[in-house]
């Protein structure tokens, strides 16, 4: 097995940044409500990776606790968010975000 040099922590952080930006891109460019929501989940995952990486750097587990809380919050958000999306779908029959625009000036 070839011996590879160990990975610097900054790669993990860069990966986290890339995932975060991809999440932002999904949020901005996708038109399906549910995919937009999934992009937000992707952003939260990217943040979790940052927390865990910084924990490794600091040799403290506060970051793990943080990402644990983020998971709990994400789960709660998913329950509420999907319930909201369901009500929208029931009333309008669409998941296209640009078709949900009944508010007039």
């Amino acid at each position: 097995m070839p011996h590879l040099p160990p990975v610097p922590l900054s790669w993990y952080l860069v990966l986290s940044a890339i995932l975060f930006v991809l999440g932002v891109a999904g949020f901005l460019y996708r038109k399906s409500i549910i995919t937009v929501f999934m992009s937000i989940e992707l952003m939260l995952n990217a943040v979790n990776l940052s927390f865990v990486s910084f924990s490794y750097q600091l040799r403290r587990i506060d970051g793990h606790i943080y990402s644990f809380f983020v998971m709990v919050v994400a789960a709660a958000e998913a329950a509420v968010g999907l319930a909201i999306i369901l009500t929208v779908f029931k009333n309008r029959g669409t998941l296209q975000i640009d078709e949900v625009d009944s508010m007039k000036r």
């Binding site: 975060f20 999440g23 949020f27 409500i33 937009v36 929501f37 937000i40 952003m43 939260l44 990217a46 943040v47 940052s50 927390f51 990486s53 910084f54 750097q57 600091l58 403290r60 506060d62 970051g63 606790i65 943080y66 809380f69 983020v70 919050v73 709660a76 958000e77 509420v80 968010g81 909201i84 999306i85 009500t87 929208v88 009333n91 309008r92 949900v100 625009d101 009944s102 508010m103 007039k104 000036r105």
Partner: protein, 486 residues
Amino acid sequence: MFGNFQPHAAEYLRFLPEIVLCVFGIAVMMLEAVTNEKQKLSLGVISLIGIVAAFAANLWSHTDLGAAFQNMLVVDNYGIFFRGLVLVVGLLCVLASFSYLQREGAQTGEYYALILFSLVGQCILATASDLIMVFIGLEISSIATYILAGFLRDDPRNNESALKYFLLGSFATAFLLYGIAWVYGLAGSTNLDEIRRVLEQPQRMSIVAGLAAGLIFVGLAFKVSVAPFQMWAPDVYQGAAAPISAFMSAGPKAAAFAVFFRLFMTSFRPIDARWIPLVWGCALLSMIVGNFAALVQTNVKRLLGYSSIAHAGYILVALTAASSIGVSAAMFYLASYALMNIGAFVVISYIAARHERHVRIEDLAGLGYREPVTAALLAIFVFSLIGVPLTGGFFAKFYVFQAALDSHLIWLTVLGLINSAIAAYYYLKIIVAIYMREPGEAVAELPAPAASLRAAIWASAFGTLILGIFPSSLLSFVSISASSFR
């Protein structure tokens, strides 16, 4: 490794308002299951009692200030002020909700329980001194409010409001969290004072710290609807039920501002050269976007939504001043804004009729003849929103711009004043409609306001006038509270 983590009784007492709210919230939720349709109103009354009890607990906690639970919370005058403010907001909204829910046939315990839980989150925000508590408090407050925004789930506008609030709110949370992650990585701690201590050291990583502060700024700016992160606010305020719009525009916003100021005036104070230009720009942009977009609105709720963006801009001017005077001015501003805005929204909810059919400016036509008292009170709120003397709004703007001048922000002050003048135009359209038009169909069939509704309107008006005539009553307290921020 593990010290004594047993919390003292005193710490529980400092946390008492939140505990009281939780207990009442759970009680209301449980009672919901055993009450029939006619008894639902009593659940509202119970939650009123809960909020009053929490307010009393908040006053009591004034006697013993200090940190609690491993420095997760710090109960100081500043925190007590904002806790009191959000509790008053909650009280007024619950009062205004009775007749609204009656009219929509949606009188349920969950509604009141959600308001109580949302208040728990806002109280935590007011006293949080650790970023984890900021995050959790923000989420409790936000998630409860998302549900409230879409509470009348058969109404498509409610759905849409909840959806937009939810999507943008979660997006903002992600930014806030990313910022928190960076702060944690840089400072090795999430305690606000600890972060400040780290950032005060020679500026090794101040660019990265600036980035972290920027990410947190974006997250919080979404929550308080500051331009360019304001796009959700008009839709959400228009779509949600009027009492909830009132609640959203005052409670969560005040709590988010409380965190905003505490965070930027403590933790990020050492790197203020990096964030002040950002705040300056956003303040100006908010005032311009809010006021100019409001000019063309015909829907009153939407108009108030845009005006709330503009007001958020004024409050950011106080943050730009970055001084304890600025903080106290912002506190005063938030208090008077909460009162006058809730008052206005509550009057709109009264006029709106079932399913909010009448929420346009012309629907207000002739209100002055049909319901002279309510109309006069609405006029007080509108004048206060403009900033006419003898109302709270006047002194709020006055102190903010004074603080800005003290910090030599001449241009921002001038532009802010011009903006206030522009804002007068669209507010005056409401006054014109009330007093100078013939009563329309909407006003003609208006029933007399319910007692609870009248109480809410009177209380807000009374508060607005008190702040306008005796500003020193509050000002002395806020300046003491803000003196810790330098």
